[in-house]
Symmetry: C2
Subunit: 308 residues, 2 copies
DNA sequence: GCGTCCTACTAGATCGATTAAGTACCCCAT
DNA sequence: ATGGGGTACTTAATCGATCTAGTAGGACGC
């Protein structure tokens, strides 16, 4: 046992009277080796007794990468989607002997490179897109699940009789922005309603109100707002109320990616709840090269409250 | 250059016509070695030309730990505090050639052990406490900054004439809960106001209202609520309004750790803004064994809006 | 001319695992 | 009795950097 207090392969080898190689074969169940039952038993027992745990760094050096997956999460993407996605990713990776670590902040290439150089993870993902290493995972499923959710938001408004719908957006883009907008627009087209107008709801509160006011002045026929996320939805509701517009009677508002705060406002926010756990699991498997069959994304659902 | 496409020390050594050891000495500026200016120059140039970057895993194996610090963030701790803390930690670590990676979820020992075994980070911290490895950092400063913030909340209410103050808490504890409560109580004592009562504001909305109602029925003299965080504060305000109580006239509410949502409600939430960036930097230095002089925690400030 | 010291390096062990290549032994067929 | 083949292992190379222990060569003193 090294002075680091760690039990190494050599310790197990010594304790069970075989070579390091044999121990490695046994512990990794190497199918190309034939190990007698007796030896296998002795090795396993010794490993158990000594409390041997493989040294991830040594293994990573040999194998070419560590059993780590890094996920980049941009600031401002904390929501139910993000949370459930992270949970699914984390759990699925754990089930395959890997760990998930998250990097927060705007994902820039140098930072990613630094991570790559420092721990050589199996993959670096970005919330909303697959980012580096490994062959491109088939994120058709991903897109499909995601597209469905985007459609849900527009569809709900249409079902409630709204035909003039605008999208309220944050003042900077997220990885998903483009796709979201595309899917929403496509949904409008399919439903036979006019193309969705777009506008940005900035902070702080006053600026938001001004933006909403300006937008409605130019587009008086709009009766419903589909917000990029609950944050924007809440800002929109506040702006509308500050402007003396009634929600949902004058203008309806629907959020996206349920936040708890949405249930606390007056009127309470109608929004889309997304459980991305399966998406996280799918991403995990894609990264590890395991097939993803049997994992169907959970469809989103509309949480009907008062704002639509 | 190995087939992995990586430029290694050996490549640099070959290119500059010296041994690997010499390259290592030059690149690490080993003070125990004497290297001629000419050689140093050649090595540096070769490293530059080839784009050599040390392999973090190999280095970690040799050095005993990787240049990574892991931070555990419990679910539900996403706020301004968390964000600024993470930013400070991340930046300070980056300045000392380390990287920060975050683990989300409830911090359990097995998960931490897994991280330790997989990448052997320099340290595993937990948002709100120092967790493992290295000598215990002097978090007196930390506590001091944190204590000051807790005090600020109570003090603000007292300054507005409130003497019967209760603390509204979430339904489960965070790493900081105990300390927070202690500091708040101590502040009340110092200000000469009665001990703070405590109660939990659960979800969903109706349960929250019921809890607030029950509490006020038992403690009719309470005129102000100091919430554990903005989330609880917002739930409290909603509960109070649902019960027909006016905020702040009947009951004042102050939040903690400013959320953006607080500015969007009616009445807008008065809260405590905490910039924990310096705390993050201090934690980083403590972990790396660098002295933390010159880093003074930024005092928190009350964001006065309408709820107090 | 020999020992000593200094400069400027190099050789090789080391961290802890994985794995290709090899070896010893026994069994069985020819 | 000899070769082929399977079983059950071992030896040693390898991943890439760090660092101890050594060495070659020159200067200097006496």
């Amino acid at each position: 046992m090294g002075r680091s207090g760690r039990v190494t392969l050599s310790d197990v080898a010594k304790a069970s009277g075989v070579s390091r190689a044999t121990v490695s074969f046994v512990l990794n169940d190497d199918p190309r080796q034939t190990i007698s039952a007796a030896t296998r038993e002795r090795v396993l027992e010794a490993a158990q007794d000594l409390g041997y745990v493989p040294h991830g760094i040594a293994r990573a050096l040999r194998e070419g990468s560590s059993r780590v997956v890094v996920l980049n999460v941009d600031w401002g993407m904390e929501g139910n989607f993000s949370r459930s996605y992270v949970r699914g990713l984390d759990e699925e990776l754990a089930e395959h002997d890997h760990i998930l670590l998250v990097r927060h902040g705007h994902a820039n290439p140098e930072a990613t490179q630094k991570v790559l150089d420092t721990i050589v993870p199996r993959a670096v993902l970005r919330l909303g897109e697959v980012y580096l290493r490994g062959e491109e995972p088939t994120d058709e499923d991903w897109e499909r699940g995601f597209a469905a959710n985007a459609a849900l938001q527009i569809r709900h408004l249409a079902e409630r009789g709204h035909t003039r719908i605008a999208m309220a957006l944050p003042d900077h883009d997220f990885p998903l922005t483009g796709a979201r907008l595309g899917f929403a627009q496509e949904t409008a087209r399919q439903l036979g309603i006019p193309p969705l107008e777009r506008f940005v709801v900035p902070r702080p509160r006053e600026a938001g109100a001004a933006a909403v006011e300006a937008f409605l002045a130019a587009h008086g026929d709009v009766t419903a707002l589909a917000a990029f996320d609950d944050d924007i939805a809440l800002r929109s509701i506040t702006a509308l109320r500050d402007l003396g517009r009634r929600v949902p009677d004058d203008v309806a508002v629907i959020g996206f990616d349920e936040t708890e705060y949405g249930s606390l406002t007056t009127p309470a926010l109608t929004t889309v709840h997304i459980d991305a756990e399966i998406l996280g699991r799918i991403a995990a498997r894609a990264v590890l090269g395991i097939d993803t069959e049997g994992l169907a994304p959970v469809p989103g659902r509309v949480v009907v409250r008062e704002s639509v």
